[in-house]
């Protein structure tokens, strides 16, 4: 869909798991971006 709309997209092989296994930098998801689901506790 992205390519159909003129956006040049590439997929990172192995995703986040491969990135972390290779030891590259990650960051915590900021609180504003978190989608907190309801809890009973």
């Amino acid at each position: 869909m992205m390519r159909e709309n003129g956006i040049d997209a590439q997929v990172i092989t192995g995703g986040l798991r491969a990135w972390m296994q290779a030891g590259y930098a990650v960051e915590s998801v900021p609180a504003d971006d978190l989608i907190l689901l309801p809890t009973f506790g």
């Binding site: 992205m2 590439q10 986040l16 972390m20 990650v26 960051e27 978190l34 309801p38 009973f40």
Partner: protein, 269 residues
């Protein structure tokens, strides 16, 4: 069901426990039909009703508790796996959690009777941090009602079910043919999907190559987008540094936000 009755008379409670435990743990097995068969077997004195109830109760409770504990320890990850088969996994997770919370803890009892939902309820309860004691009390009630309902149907209508099974035997060849046709149609559909998707091969980049690209582009930011459907539900979630989230089921709206004229790198789990 006739075959299951034959299994019950040969292997007794072991078969009942195995099927119910695996079914409660998420394996797609006919739990309700097994309980009906167990009820019919009890009516025919193949099984002892009290023992059958106890074994069924234990098996279902164990299976549900296993899923509850998995949900509790893995957060929303397990629900993400269970929702993967949904047409909209993101909505499946969101709506399941919100519906459960809105309707209250009693949902755990009612969910047992809804096909598909019954398997989601225990891990949902775990992910939503329902207390173990409360979960066990509600699940005990749910499982007891469930066994009584379906087992009772089997027990009270044992003769009627036997007559129905004899009629079904006559249709056996036709049913087998339909089943084989259905499997062939499904395999053809999957093959067509695979062929269609292989023609639309998406360019890929290795993590080492991307790291080099990021380093070479400094101080400019390389646009990296996170398309995970459930990675943002647990506090402590992480992402590739500098990446931003794009809702996978709302791509059209997100497209406006994406930079043009340069390569966008996408990733999921």
């Amino acid at each position: 069901m006739d075959g299951f009755l034959a299994l019950l008379s040969t292997y007794g409670y072991a078969v009942l426990v195995l099927v119910l435990f695996l079914g409660a743990s998420g394996v797609p097995l006919p739990v309700a039909v097994s309980l009906i068969a167990a009820g019919a077997a009890s009516a025919r004195h193949i099984l002892q009703p009290g023992l059958a109830f106890t074994f069924a109760l234990s098996a279902l409770l164990l299976g549900d508790t296993a899923l509850y504990l998995l949900g509790r320890s893995t957060g929303w990850w397990l629900l993400g796996i269970l929702c993967r088969l949904a047409t909209n996994p993101e909505a499946c997770i969101l709506h399941s959690a919100q519906a459960f919370y809105r309707r209250g803890r009693i949902t755990l009892v009612l969910a047992k009777f809804l096909p598909g939902v019954g398997v989601l309820a225990p891990p949902l309860a775990g992910s939503m941090k329902m207390g173990l004691r409360q979960f066990l009390s509600l699940d005990l009630l749910a499982v007891s009602l469930y066994i009584t309902a379906y087992g009772g149907v089997g027990y009270l209508s044992a003769d009627l079910l036997a007559a129905a099974m004899r009629r079904l035997h006559a249709l056996e060849l036709g049913l087998k043919g339909l089943l084989i046709l259905g499997v062939i149609a499904y395999l053809l559909y999957r093959a067509r999907l695979f062929w269609k998707q292989s023609r639309l091969s998406v360019p890929r980049v290795e993590v080492q190559e991307l790291a080099r690209i990021i380093e070479a582009a400094k101080p400019r930011q390389v646009p990296i987008r996170d398309v995970r459907s459930h990675g943002y539900y647990d506090p402590g979630a992480v992402r590739i540094k500098g990446s931003r989230r794009v809702e996978p089921n709302n791509l059209l709206a997100s497209l406006q936000d994406l930079p043009r004229g340069q390569v966008i790198y996408l990733y999921c789990t």
